[in-house]
Every structure is written in C-alpha cells, then in structure tokens.
C-alpha cells in the first residue's frame, strides 16, 4: 500500500486550483458573467424613468437604489454557485477531497464575488453619476460596496448550498438569503446617504467590516455543512 500512497497536495494548491477552475468556468460562460451586470444596469436605469427625472429627487434615492440593485444582482447570480457542480457530480468530488472544506468553499465564494460582485463595485460610480449622487459620496459608495458585496456572496452561498438539492427552488432562496443580507443593505445605503450630508462614517465602515469578518469566518463553514446535507 505504501507504493500507492502518493505525495499529498497542500491546501493552498487545492484552494488555488478551485479558484482557478471556477473563474475559468465563469469566463467561458459569458452569459452568466454578464447577466447580473446587465440586470444591475437595467434596474438602476429604470428608476429615473419610473420615479422622476428631477435631479433632487434622484439624489435622495440614489444610494438606496444602487444598493438594492446590487443586492438583487447578487441574488440573481447566486444559483450558478453550486448548481452545475451538483448536477455533474463535481460537488461530490469536492466533498470527498481530503482538503478542509472551509477553504474549498471559500475559494468558490471568492470566485463568485470576483465575477459578480467586483464588476458591480466598478460599475457603481457610473450609475451613481446617472442618479445625480453627489460627487463626494462616490468613494463611500464604492468602499461600502467593496466591503458589502463579499458579504452578499458569502451569506448567499449558505442559501444556495441548502437549496441546491431541491428540484424547484423558486422563492425559497430569497427567503433564506434576504434576512441575512438586509443588515448589509441598511448599513451600506445609510453610509452613502450620510456621506452626502457630511456625517462621520466611521461607524458604518466598522459595522460593514465586522459583518465581512463574521461572514468570512463563519459563512463558509455553514455552506460546507449545508452542502453535506444537500448531497445526502
């Protein structure tokens, strides 16, 4: 048997390989990559049409609009996270790897954020400009999205992991994920609104940072446990 026992790979190698694989899949499936981003763009651009084209009115709702759209765009892309892997059996391979599942799930979540969250962060200033957000709030918007969107991916991952084995998911994913992500929305939108008023933002950043730390350390564990239940 010693002849069969080969060299082991480090967790870092496995982490990198998983991240690389998921990015490769996302880049190949351009639709999945563009859908959330287009959705984000369309939803935000509908608000001036539906609410009012008055700059003052738009300024008032700009922060909330961008944040709500970012949250919905993130929800839309969540399903890609484990579904294909569940259906083709790759998920079983992942669960049966001798690597700590925490890091494997984290790699998948980071890949998800890089293709769905980061583009939203980068696109946000353009949409903020469209909604007449005061220029001094741009950085706050980007920074809060930068802290907040990873939390959306990490918490969302728990919901997808729980529901991936169900035939028809429908709204259940939203029911599970939204309560977890609403605090991010409230704090993020409030921070951007406060930025245009010139209020100190330290507390908002601290809270978002705390949420990010919490979700980074705990959410992958919850996702891993949920995945184990889903393949059972």
């Amino acid at each position: 048997m010693t002849a069969l026992a080969g060299p082991q790979v480090t967790t870092f190698t496995a982490f990198r390989a998983t991240l690389r694989r998921d990015l490769l899949i996302a880049l190949t499936r351009r639709n999945d990559l563009l859908n959330p981003l287009m959705f984000f763009l369309i939803v935000v651009s509908l608000f001036p049409l539906g609410v009012s084209s008055d700059p003052q009115e738009l300024t008032r709702i700009a922060a909330g609009t961008v944040w709500v759209s970012a949250l919905l765009a993130s929800m839309l892309s969540l399903d890609n996270l484990y579904r294909a892997d569940y259906e083709d059996g790759s998920l079983e391979q992942l669960l049966l790897s001798p690597q700590p599942l925490y890091f494997m799930v984290l790699a998948k979540n980071i890949a998800h954020w890089l293709v769905s969250g980061l583009p939203v962060v980068l696109l946000a200033p353009l949409l903020a400009y469209m909604l007449y957000l005061p220029a001094d709030a741009y950085w706050t918007l980007m920074l809060t999205l930068l802290l907040g969107t990873p939390v959306l991916s990490l918490f969302g991952s728990i919901g997808v992991a729980l529901t991936v084995g169900l035939g028809s998911r429908g709204l259940i994913l939203a029911v599970i994920v939204l309560p977890l992500t609403v605090p991010v929305l409230i704090i993020g939108a409030k921070a951007v609104a406060d930025a245009s008023l010139g209020v100190s933002l330290g507390m908002h950043y601290a809270l978002l940072g705390a949420l990010l730390a919490l979700s980074l350390s705990l959410a992958p564990l919850a996702s891993a446990a949920a995945l184990k239940i889903s393949v059972n």
Binding site: G6, Q8, T13, R20, R21, D88, G89, L95, L96, P98
Partner: protein
Amino acid sequence: MSDSHIHNPDASGAVPLLRAHALFCERDDRVLFSGLDFDVQAGDLMQVQGSNGSGKTTLLRILCGLNGSYEGELYWRGVPIEEDREGFLASLLYLGHRVGVNKILTARENLRWSCALHSPVTDNDIETALARVGLAGYADVICRNMSAGQQQRVSLARLLLNPATLWVLDEPFTTLDVHGVRTLESLLAEHVLAGGAVLVTTHHPLAVPCTLRRLNLDTRGANNS
C-alpha cells in the same frame, strides 16, 4: 440469508482496510439492509450485487461518507472512520453515477482540478492517463463535445492519476464500449494486484485475472468466488 459475520480471521490477523459492522439503512420505511458485515482487504476486488433498488448505490455512498443516514460502524484500517476522516479521504477515490466532469471545461482542465484536490500531477501525466483510457489527443477537447462514454473515460483517467488505495466505483461500465470495458477491467486488476482494493457495483460480468469477491445485497453476505 444469514447475517453471518464474514470477517477474515486469516490473512495473518492483518487489519482490514475497510470494515463495516452491523450496517443498517432504511429508506422510505423500507429496510435496504440490516446487520450487514463485511471486510475489504488490500488486494480485494469486491463486486456489490443486487437487484435494482437493493441499495447498492446507497451502500457505496454510506461507505464514502456522502450519505449519513445509516446505523452501524465503519472502520478504516481499524480506526473508526469519523476519527480520521481526512486520512480516509486521502486514500479514497469515488466515481459515482454522475461522473464529476464539467462539460464547459476541457478534459485537461477537469482532471487538473480534480487531481489538485488529491495529488500533484503534470500535464504529461494527464496526457498519458488519457491515452491509456483511449482518449489520446482529446486533452483539449471541451467535454460538452464528447459522447457520454468519452466523458466517462475522462473520469476514469482519474483512477490513473490519483494514488488512492480504495476505489469505490458506482456502475463504471454503463456507457463504455467493448474496448473501454476491457481497459477498465485491466485497470481494476492492476490496482488490486498492486495492493489496492476496489468496491464496484455493476451488472456486467467482470472478466478479471484476479479473485473476485461478491457482496450480494439481495441475499446479504459476502463470499469469495
């Protein structure tokens, strides 16, 4: 028929690789198996038999730890599996009904990832393994453009790339053609002769140049043939 214990006290008292003791599993109020005992020694090729719905797949998934709804004990090299799960997983290779091949990626990309979870491989290793399973020149073909049998072969290439001791294969023959069947049979024989162990479910009569043990879930009991 009987729930007789088929432990192998011979083999110079060697600790079996895998030991299942008093396994019980029930699904939808129907008992699939109860009081199931068997050992898998190094060098064993064990075919799990049983009619459709007798619980072959369930048994294999329980052994791998993918299915937790069972009662009974499982030991890996004499140690309860849950105590050294990582050590067990490092020695396990499971190929299920769903082959674990992503259709968007190429054969090479698929294998590079699944191997990176277990043991380091080079591109050369991957090409050699693909050639062995009859996919020479297919390394950079996207798996969506392959037939079901070819996708199965991509997953079989993992048998050559992963140094696992215990192979657990669920219906690995289903989509293979005659040559594929022969290749897989010789892979199984090579593995058990090198001191590995194989648990396989199949309805296909295995033609292998080594001892074949059978575990029949309909009559419940392990016997050599």
